[in-house]
Symmetry: C2
């Protein structure tokens, strides 16, 4: 079981995980995806869980990234403080099986009272950097359950801020008084862009969310526009945090989410290019595994 | 079963209800409270539900306020458009049992694209007005699942705005990544006031919420302060919508909530007086029932 023969990279999140087998040349050979996120694995259950990943993808070394390294995961991998690049991550790999299975640390950032953390996005961002998908000086948006706005300086993650946009939309959609209005599909379009405009221009997010329902009740808006408007509203408000200076934005992540965020950024007259988060993850995994191969 | 012999007033919300028996003189004689909100009553189940209220509190006429008059309740009671006072509510009572049981309508407000609705708060606010607890020209804050900021002009509800503060805090506490941090008790104090200050001064609510967790993870804040800070943050952000001009504020509602909102308003250097929502509800019920007695 040598790294030179290939390895398995796992993006192991809170509620699901994706595993990839990379061959001797680094080529993607096989993949799996399921809902066995870290919260579904009992304490002490991780050795058995990775045994099953190896049964599925091959008896190979493992590189594990994401919430697997949090205090709810297998073993806590202390954050690398920003500024941090691939070197800092490589130095801090936590070996849960000596020489055979390593957890990638997250990155922390502090400045005065401000503080932030990431786990899982760093490997994608630094992979995109190492493969030249993004430049040495970039503003990056990484949408997901928690959207991250990242400043890359001198080829490293210099600072970042997390916005709970995705999780808040899910909470509203699943559990709130707006739930029945938010069930529909979300596409960039006039309702989405109107939401973005309101979110960017006003400072009344928690009131405007209720207005969505009131307008439908009073016949001043169509219920089928509500989900796109609400999504645009939350994303537009999110842009206040991240789109605070000039320059283009590289949007990295799941294609359905990068599409929405890129549309919102473009509707503000700014340029955004979309980068597939999976390709960025695989690039990061290849670069991190390089010294072992 | 005549109104002159007394009546029952019910504040019938989405998830719970409170019933009060008022005697011939209007004195509170008995009360009940349970979790039989409108969502727990099946379609067609309301006649049986009020029969049980009468078994419990007496065979008397009924005045029903709150979500019982919504499209999820017994029968929809169309909103009275603002400006509206007790007269407009009385004119629009919906009689579900002729002469014996009436539903109080809510109030709607529109202006250009803006739109808002209330059901249940109007009887409290107009009751407080009719009994002189608030004046003819007032700014009112009514915290609850949805906080309402109301302008009273010439003794009527002139305009209002709803903010989802209470519901958002509940969603975060029950279902979000912040859940374990928000379980603690919330008291006005330094952490709460720091949250209010941040919410009022900044425009990054959905990012600052995540920072609460990051600061605890990185040892920059104490987990036991997180719930009070988060509550203060949401309330401080809420004040941006409602505390937009000069003047005192009358805060009407559940004492535990009016205490928090009044503390937040006072920490901004403004005066706030607290009015018990139950007393205001009973005042409104007495005034609305007066013409029938």
């Amino acid at each position: 079981m040598r790294w030179a023969e290939g390895f398995i990279a796992v993006d192991w999140g809170t509620t699901n995980r994706r595993g990839y087998r990379l061959g001797p040349s680094g080529r993607l050979e096989d993949r799996m995806e399921d809902d066995k996120g870290v919260l579904s694995v009992a304490a002490g259950g991780f050795p058995a869980a990775i045994a099953r990943i190896r049964e599925r993808l091959g008896d190979l070394p493992l590189l594990l990234a994401g919430m697997i390294g949090s205090n709810r995961g297998w073993r806590e991998a202390p954050y690398a403080p920003a500024p941090a690049g691939l070197e800092e991550l490589a130095e801090r790999l936590v070996w849960v099986e000596p020489g055979r299975a390593a957890i990638v640390p997250g990155i922390s950032w502090t400045a005065g009272d401000a503080a932030d953390v990431m786990r899982g996005e760093e490997i994608q961002i630094l992979g995109a950097l190492a493969d030249g998908m993004v430049g040495e000086e970039e503003r990056i948006c990484h949408p997901g359950t928690h959207n991250k706005w990242i400043r890359v300086e001198k080829g490293r993650i210099a600072s970042f801020r997390t916005v709970m946009t995705g999780e808040l939309f899910s909470l509203l959609k699943e559990h709130s008084i707006l739930a029945d209005l938010l069930a529909g599909p979300i596409e960039p379009g006039p309702a989405f862009e109107a939401g973005v405009r309101h979110g960017r221009a006003h400072d009344d997010l928690t009131a405007e969310l209720f207005s969505i329902r009131a307008r439908v009740l009073l016949g001043k808006a169509k219920s089928e526009d509500a989900a796109a408007y609400a999504s645009g509203l939350l994303i537009g408000y999110d842009l206040k945090t991240g789109l605070d200076g000039p320059g283009d934005v590289a949007v990295i992540g799941r294609p359905d989410l990068t599409r929405l965020f890129a549309a919102a950024i473009r509707s503000c007259g700014r340029r955004a290019r979309e980068i597939d988060g999976e390709a960025a993850f695989l690039a990061g995994a290849r670069h991190l595994a390089e010294p072992m191969r």
